[in-house]
Subunit: 275 residues, 3 copies
C-alpha cells in the first residue's frame, strides 16, 4: 500500500510536506511517493497526461492524489474514483480524464463525510484538509462508499486530437518534457520489424499498420523525415522523430532541446504523411 | 516516528540525499519527509514561517531538522528543542522562533556530545555532520539530556508586525508562495457568519471581531475592497483579499500571480481599514 | 536495504515517480531516497562527482541507481557494479568513475537477463525499463551473476586534474553548487593545527603537508589569500578560500554567490602557491 502525490504546488512552500504530515498522522506506515509537484500552475491537461504516463507502473492497489485545482473553494466537488490503476483522489475537474480512458472507474464518490476530513477545512487548501485525509483513510481500509454519495456525471476533458485518413495521421503536441522532448497524441506505436502498429491511445481512431520506411513526419512547417528508433541515430544537434517511452510519436533533437529548436508548443499540429 | 527536513540546500547537489544517507545508517527504519529545500538561501525568517505552517500537521512525536545556517562553523550553537510540536534540531539562530511562539520549548540543549556526531565534523556542513546524526539518535530514543548542556538564552527573531487600533489593523507581508499568493501577518482570522474573529498568531495584539462587510484591505497604495472567501469569487485576473489556509490575511489574483500584479514584497505594509 | 536515485530527469515530468512505481511493484518494502534529479542534462561528470560525495554516507549494502544517459538506446551497455559503497546500477558511460577510484568494483555485469527487465523495453527510458527493475530485484536478493555476463572493460572518465610540484598545487574547478560555492579538485585537505595535510582524492599526486599560513590561492586572475576555516571568517560579500565539506579546496563568497562574483566555471584552473 502506498500513496502518490501529483500537484502544481511546487516544492518551495511546505504545502507538500504538510500533506505528508497529515497522512503520517492517520496512516503512519504508508509511504508517500511524489510523482511531480511541478505541474504548470492550474494546468489540468498536463496533470492528466502525467498521471496517464505514470500510474500504470504502480501497484494496482495504490492510492493516487492529484491536486491541480483552480476551482478550490467553489462548487466543484472533491471526489475519489476506483479504477484498475488504483483509487484516484482529487477535484472533479477532469484531471483524471486520460487515466479513465485507459482504466475506466467502476465507482466515483463525492467526498462529503466530515469524519474523513480535517476538523477545520480551509477554502484554499483542500490538498491538506480533504484529499490527504481521504487518501490516508482509504489506505487504512475505509470503504469508498463511506466517504459520500456516488457521482455519475464527473467532469471529463476532451481527448487529445488523433485522426487517421488514407494519406495522413493527424495529431497534436500534448506535452513538452524537461529535456525539451515534444510528445504528441499520435500513438501508441509499436515497432514490428520495419512496420509500426498503431493502437490508438486517445479517441476512436482505428488500429492500423504504418510502413515506417515510407512516411514523413511534418511539424512546424518542417519535414522531419522518417521515424527513428533512438536519439543516437542522428548527429548531435540534429532533429528527429521517434517513438517515445509511452509509445507516442515524439519529436526531439539529439543531445539538444527539441521544443526550442523546432519552435513547437502544446497544441501545435503534428502530422505523419503516409506515402 | 519520522524525521522531517527543511533546508536552503536546494535539490541540485546531493546535500539532502547525503543527510538521508547518514540518517539511514543510524536509524534505518525511520522515514524522512521533505518539507522544503528551497528556502531562499540563508533566509531564516522564511524558514521560520514555513516551519510554523507545516509542523502542527505532523504527529507530535516527530523530529524536525531545519538547516538554514549562515553562521555554520562560527560560534553559533547547534541545538535541539523539545516542544509540543516535536523535537526541533538545527542552528541556534532563531529559525524556530515562530514555532516557539505557538509551541513553547520545555527544554533546549546544545549539541556537543561527540558520540552523536559524525567522526569528522566539517566546518561547512553541520546538516550532515551534526544535525542528521542528532535527529537519527533522537529517533532511536537517546534522551535529549545526553546531547549536551541546557540552553536558556536561545536566539529569537522579533515577531512579525501585528497592531490593532480602533480604525485599522496593521500588518506586513511575511511570505510569498509559489503561486504568487501574498501572505500577511494579519490573523489568525476565522469566519463566523459575516464576521471575522481575530485571534492573533503573532505579538500581543488583543482578540477582536471584524465586521467583514464593512472593511477595506489596503496594500501597495491600492484598495482591494472587502475580504472574500475564495479565489473564485472574483473574475480570473482580478485581485482580492481572502483568508488563507493558515488563517492569515492573504492577497491574491484569481488564476494569476498576486505578488507580481500587486507589486508586493516581503516586509511591505498591509492594512485593514475597519470602517 | 534502500535504493537511491540520481538522474538528470528533473522533477517536472513524472519520470522519477514512474521509476519508484516500478520498484514498489517488485520490492514494496524497500524505500527509495533521491540523491538528486537535477544533474545538468547529460552531464556525466557532474553526476560522477555527486555520487562520489554522497555514496560514502549511505549504508554499504545500499543499491544506487544513476541515470545520466545520452547514449540510451544505442550500443552502450547497461551495467551493475558491486563496490564497497554498495551496488551501482546504470549505463556504462563512466558515471561511476569517481566512485570507483575510491571504492573499486569487485564485479561488474552487463544487464541482459530479460527476467529482470520490464516486459517491453523502450529505446528511450531504460531508467524505468531496465535500471529500476534491476535495483529492485537486487534488493530482493537476486545474485549479481544472474543479471548477465561479466564486464571487464567498463568506460572510465579521466580523473580531475591534480598536480603538485615544489612551488604550486594545480587543480581545476569540478563543481559549482546551489549556493554558488566553487569546488575544486585540490584535496582532500585536512587541518592539523596551522598545517594542512594533502591526501589526494584524484590522480596519483603524492601526499604532502602545506603550511597554511604561507600559501596563496590563485583563481581567475585573482589572489584569494590564505585558506580559511569557515565562511564567517571574512566579511559578508568578501571572497575566500576554505576547505569544503568533502575536504576539497573551495572558493566562496561569505553570504554571496562565489562563482558569479569570481567569474569561475567548471574546468577553470585553480592554484595554490606554496610560498
Amino acid at each position: 500500500m502506498l500513496i502518490t502525490l501529483t500537484t502544481d504546488f511546487g516544492t518551495r512552500d511546505g504545502y507538500v510536506g504538510t500533506m505528508k504530515g497529515v497522512i503520517a498522522g492517520i496512516a503512519p506506515d504508508v509511504p508517500c511517493i511524489d510523482i511531480t509537484h511541478e505541474i504548470p500552475p492550474q494546468n489540468i491537461r498536463s496533470a492528466a497526461y502525467i498521471l496517464w504516463t505514470a500510474l500504470p507502473y504502480f501497484p494496482p492497489q495504490s492510492i493516487h492524489i492529484a491536486v491541480v485545482d483552480p476551482g478550490v473553494g467553489t462548487a466543484r466537488r472533491p471526489i475519489a474514483a476506483r479504477t484498475p490503476w488504483g483509487i484516484l483522489v482529487g477535484p472533479d475537474n477532469g484531471v483524471f480524464s486520460y487515466v479513465w480512458e485507459a482504466a475506466p472507474p467502476d465507482r466515483i464518490v463525492e467526498l462529503v463525510n466530515p469524519a474523513y476530513r480535517n476538523v477545520a477545512v480551509s477554502n484554499t487548501f483542500h490538498g491538506r484538509d480533504i484529499f490527504s485525509p481521504t487518501a490516508a483513510y482509504l489506505a487504512r481500509g475505509v470503504p469508498l462508499a463511506d466517504f459520500g454519495p456516488e457521482v455519475r456525471d464527473p467532469v471529463r476533458l476532451p481527448a487529445p486530437t488523433l485522426a487517421v485518413d488514407d494519406t495522413t495521421i493527424n495529431g497534436e503536441v500534448i506535452y513538452i518534457d524537461h529535456f525539451g522532448n515534444v510528445i504528441t497524441s499520435i500513438g501508441r506505436l509499436v515497432w514490428d520489424g520495419g512496420l509500426l502498429m498503431l493502437d490508438p491511445a486517445f479517441g476512436d481512431a482505428p488500429r492500423g499498420i504504418i510502413n515506417a520506411g515510407r512516411v514523413h513526419v511534418l511539424a512546424a512547417g518542417q519535414d522531419l523525415g522518417p521515424i527513428h528508433r533512438t536519439y543516437g541515430e542522428v548527429e548531435p544537434g540534429e532533429p528527429l522523430a521517434l517513438i517515445g517511452s509511452e509509445g507516442l510519436l515524439e519529436l526531439a533533437v539529439n543531445r539538444g532541446h527539441g521544443a526550442q529548436t523546432l519552435g513547437l508548443q502544446i497544441g501545435d499540429h503534428v502530422e505523419i504523411a503516409l506515402h
